[in-house]
């Protein structure tokens, strides 16, 4: 099958890397828990993108199956994580991760 407007493999990977780096940067530098949480989701999805890209490139279905697993785990994580965030906010009236530090010391 002829590849008409084939996007080169490297573009996907570059996009994936950019998204991942954004996720890392958000995770490291933002204080709001929800933003941090979204950054984690962003990193996961960046990885998903590269999985799918490789799957397409290598003509193997494994990467796509793996992506589904990641999405399932991410969904579960979102449910649990948001519940925790809600509880934290109810108890402390804050969403700054630096102030949620009672386990320290």
């Amino acid at each position: 099958m002829p590849q008409l407007n084939a996007v080169p493999m490297s573009w996907y990977l570059i996009l994936s890397a950019i998204l991942f780096s954004l996720g890392v940067a958000g995770f490291l530098f933002r204080r709001n828990i929800i933003t941090v949480f979204m950054s984690i989701e962003l990193m996961l999805n960046a990885v998903n993108l590269s999985f799918v890209a490789f799957s397409q490139h290598l003509r193997q279905v494994d990467g796509q199956i793996f992506t589904f697993f990641v999405m399932v785990v991410a969904a579960a994580e979102a449910a649990v994580g948001l519940a925790i965030i809600l509880t934290v906010f109810k108890n402390r009236q804050t969403l700054s991760i630096d102030e949620v530090s009672s386990l320290k010391n």
């Binding site: 890392v24 995770f27 490291l28 991760i97 530090s101 386990l103 010391n105």
Partner: protein, 621 residues
């Protein structure tokens, strides 16, 4: 050799061992009656089995040997679990099991009110087991097993009242001093292995006998001297006698059985058993005689100034053992063994009598708190009196016959030994009767209300006193004669009369000082001044040992081992480990700041490094 009957000699050992095991394992749950039945029964059965074996064996012209199994086999050296009875061990067997049975019976009465009844009898039976191994052993290694075993039981029984510090200390002292002797003994055994390639007594003695004189001198003398070192430890001879007086911390039946009648004579037995070796080593013989004589004199002197009734008899035991060694040393082996037998009778009697006195006075042992007990505990008085007359060597009691046999042999060897021995015998009579007079005559100086002991205690006393009267007529020396080279025994009436005269002089001196002029003893002591202080201080031997051995050892341990090794190396090592761990922990703690973002940075850095390495290596393949 005629076909030897199978006598199952192992049963002699088996009965006491079984008794010890039963009482030692489930004795705690058994009634006192059952415990005593097992304890007495096992020893009595073993006595009966000895009697049966001896009646089967008849004249015992050749030793009866039973070989059971090979115990150790290493190259050419084969050591078997072999038991034997010859004329010498038959006598020891009868004494050990016979006197042992009587003392077990007595102990049931004596220990009635004590804690740990079952423990006591299991130790006592275990002692009988090891003592019988010692006597029955056909090779030196098996003998050594018994030798160490009786030492162990002695330790356990001296320390029977282990809640009292002095009992624990006395037990340790006995054990440690005995180790010194045992070291010599084990070296002797090793020398035998090296030179004879066997430990079987028959073979060793045959080899020793055949050894030409020019070869034998050094080796046999060395073996004999090392055996003497061992015998000095076990039989409480100078310079290793110091443990025996302290050993009186144990219960009185123990003092009677182990520290008077049986175990302490093991040294005499071993020397007599190894007579073939000693006869070829005249130097060692002289050493034995001199050690015996010195011990007899020193212990008798100390005995005159002791105030604890058991200590008096303890020193008299040491002194009498010295007489036995004198007998062995001058070549009168059979006289030495004869004295072992009679001594077992009258010294067991004296100790059990002393125990009966102590029992009557509820634990009082100090002679200065006794007196006038003659009418209050008459049976104890009469039996103890017989024991005292017997040890003093008055004709026709048992002590007279054996002691005079030794003294006559000493005279034949060298007259000065006879004279020292005779004076010591007089001294013996003096201090034993001093104890008797202080205990039974005069007015009662104590507070406790004396009461006569129960029949289970005085029946053994009565039997032993009969033996102390008649024991001198047992034909022990005639029975042993074939084992030893003929020893001329001049029946010199003068010498016998002199020694009896000394005995009576000793008794009279005690009578004069303690009955005719009560209270005059302190005056005599004062007029003797320094001499008396030296005697009362036991010649300061314990103090000398403390200064020469114990103190340097303690100091050495403290400075070298404690301040040096313990504090610098052990504690320093531990402290260094602690410091390194603490420092490392302080460093690693920085990584665990609890800050999620720094963790994320670490993960990121890790991932970057990992990928970087992968990339430089050309990626995964």
């Amino acid at each position: 050799m005629p076909n030897q009957p199978d006598l199952q000699l192992w049963l002699i050992l088996f009965f006491p061992l079984l008794g010890a095991l039963i009482n030692g394992t489930i004795g705690r749950r058994l009634s006192k009656g059952l415990i005593s039945t097992i304890a007495i029964g096992s020893v009595a059965l073993s006595f009966l089995w000895v009697a049966r074996a001896l009646s089967e064996l008849g004249q015992l012209e050749t030793p009866h040997i039973e070989r059971y199994f090979t115990w150790i086999s290493s190259g050419d050296l084969k050591i078997g679990f072999d038991l034997s009875i010859d004329r010498l061990s038959s006598i020891m067997l009868l004494v050990v099991t016979g006197v042992g049975t009587l003392i077990h019976v007595y102990a049931v009465g004596y220990m009635d009110h004590e804690e740990g009844f079952w423990r006591f009898f299991s130790y006592l039976n275990l002692f009988m087991f090891f003592m019988l191994i010692l006597v029955l052993a056909q090779n030196f290694l098996l003998l050594f097993v018994g030798w160490e075993g009786v030492g162990l039981c002695s330790y356990l029984l001296i320390g029977f009242y282990f809640l009292e510090k002095y009992a624990g200390d006395a037990a340790k002292k006995a054990f440690i001093v005995n180790r010194v002797g045992d070291f010599g003994f084990s070296l002797a055994v090793l020398l035998m292995v090296v030179h004879f390639g066997s430990l079987d007594m028959t073979q060793v003695f045959a080899a020793a006998k055949k050894m030409p004189l020019e070869e034998s001198g050094g080796v046999l003398t060395a073996i004999a001297l090392l055996l003497v070192v061992g015998a000095c430890g076990k039989s409480a001879q100078v310079p290793l006698y110091v443990w025996l007086p302290d050993a009186m911390a144990g219960p009185t039946p123990v003092s009677a059985l182990i520290h008077a009648a049986t175990m302490v004579t093991a040294g005499v037995y071993v020397v007599a058993r190894s007579s073939e070796v000693f006869l070829k080593a005249p130097v060692a013989m002289d050493v034995v005689a001199v050690i015996g004589l010195v011990t007899a004199v020193v212990a008798a002197l100390i005995g005159t100034a002791q105030n604890d009734i058991k200590k008096v008899f303890a020193y008299s035991t040491v002194s009498q053992l010295g007489f036995m060694f004198l007998g062995l040393g001058v070549g009168a082996f059979s006289a030495g063994i004869f004295h072992v037998v009679t001594h077992a009778f009258f010294k067991a009697l004296l100790f059990l009598g002393a125990g009966s006195v102590i029992h009557a006075l509820h634990g009082e042992q100090d002679l200065s708190n006794m007196g006038g007990l003659r009418s209050k505990i008459p049976i104890t008085y009469w039996t103890l009196m017989i024991g005292a007359v017997a040890i003093a060597g008055v004709w026709p009691f048992a002590g007279f016959h054996s002691k005079d046999a030794i003294l006559l042999a000493a005279h034949a060897h060298s007259p000065w030994m006879y004279w020292v021995g005779v004076v010591t015998a007089g001294l013996t009579a003096f201090y034993v009767f001093r104890a008797i007079f202080l205990c039974f005559f005069g007015t009662y100086r104590g507070k406790a209300h004396p009461h006569e002991s129960p029949a289970i205690m005085y029946m053994p006393l009565v039997i032993l006193s009969l033996l102390s009267v008649a024991g001198g007529y047992l034909p022990v020396m005639e029975w042993l004669a074939p084992l030893y080279p003929a020893h001329e025994q001049p029946h010199d009436m003068t010498l016998i009369l002199i020694s009896v005269a000394f005995a009576f002089a000793g008794i009279f001196m005690a009578y004069y000082v303690y009955i005719l002029n009560p209270g005059s003893a302190d005056g005599y002591a004062k007029s003797l001044g320094g001499v008396y202080r030296a005697i009362a201080g036991k010649f300061f031997v314990d103090e000398a040992y403390d200064a020469a051995i114990v103190h340097p050892l303690e100091q050495g341990s403290r400075t070298v081992l404690m301040n040096g090794f313990e504090e610098v190396i052990v504690e320093g090592g531990v402290n260094a480990t602690v410091a390194v761990t603490r420092w490392g922990g302080g460093f690693l703690r920085l990584l665990q700041a609890g800050n999620i973002r720094s963790y994320a940075v670490y993960i990121l850095l890790g991932a970057v490094i990992f990928l970087g390495v992968m990339a430089t290596n050309g990626g995964a393949r």
